[in-house]
Symmetry: C2
Subunit: 130 residues, 2 copies
């Protein structure tokens, strides 16, 4: 498969794919004339990379973790990195949940306007009658 095929099947631009290669995230064989040739596992690989990007991992972090994903082995160092990133993700999820709760509260209030929280709704005071 050539780069355009991978782009089509993953929804990732060819520019991005070349960028991944540049960053050491994705490797490809080459034809005699220099064109990139991919095997099917590349699709899965690209999707994994996208997921990790979406989770806020930096390319430099991903490049350190991919070998572990491939071999199933992780040095102490790599293991620590894995755990740090996992914990960071967990924290991010908590942050997202809090932010979503804030938005939900505003949505609720704007849908059911009651005198108490009309003027200035504060997280704490809005719940008390005072």
């Amino acid at each position: 498969m050539r780069i355009g095929d991978i782009a089509e099947q993953t929804g990732v631009s060819t520019r991005a794919l070349r960028y991944y290669e540049e960053q050491g995230l994705l490797s490809a064989e080459r034809t005699a004339r220099g064109q990139r040739v991919y095997e099917e596992p590349a699709i899965e690989r690209v999707q994994l990379i996208q997921q990790l990007f979406a989770a806020g991992l930096a390319s430099r972090t991903i490049v350190e973790l991919l070998p572990c994903v491939d071999t199933g082995e992780a040095s102490e160092e790599a293991l620590a990195l894995l755990r740090r990133e996992r914990d960071r993700i967990t924290e991010s999820m908590a942050e997202l949940e809090k932010a979503r709760a804030q938005l939900d509260r505003v949505i609720e209030i704007s849908l059911h306007p009651t005198p108490e929280h009309c003027p200035a709704l504060r997280t704490e005071t809005a719940l008390r009658p005072a």
Copy 2:
């Protein structure tokens, strides 16, 4: 309170606070000579802004939502925006969860190496005996 106090109490840099003002996220009175003066609610406000940033909202989006947060009222448009962002956050959380699961899997495997998944662990095939 002056800008340094807010910075200290929120952990947000003075540069960031001025940026927030520039973006219309945070307002401040001024002394006769032009120095910013904040009231205490500014602290809460800054923390809210940080939360929304952490949730991936852009400053332009936040600037549209803050009035709703203050008044508890939202136009149809604002309400739609609120819902879009809430849904986006929900999606992000799902993405994070998937990525975390991937990392957890790598951690598990590297901790309990077994022959099956040593060579190349694939999401699907790793579960089947092959």
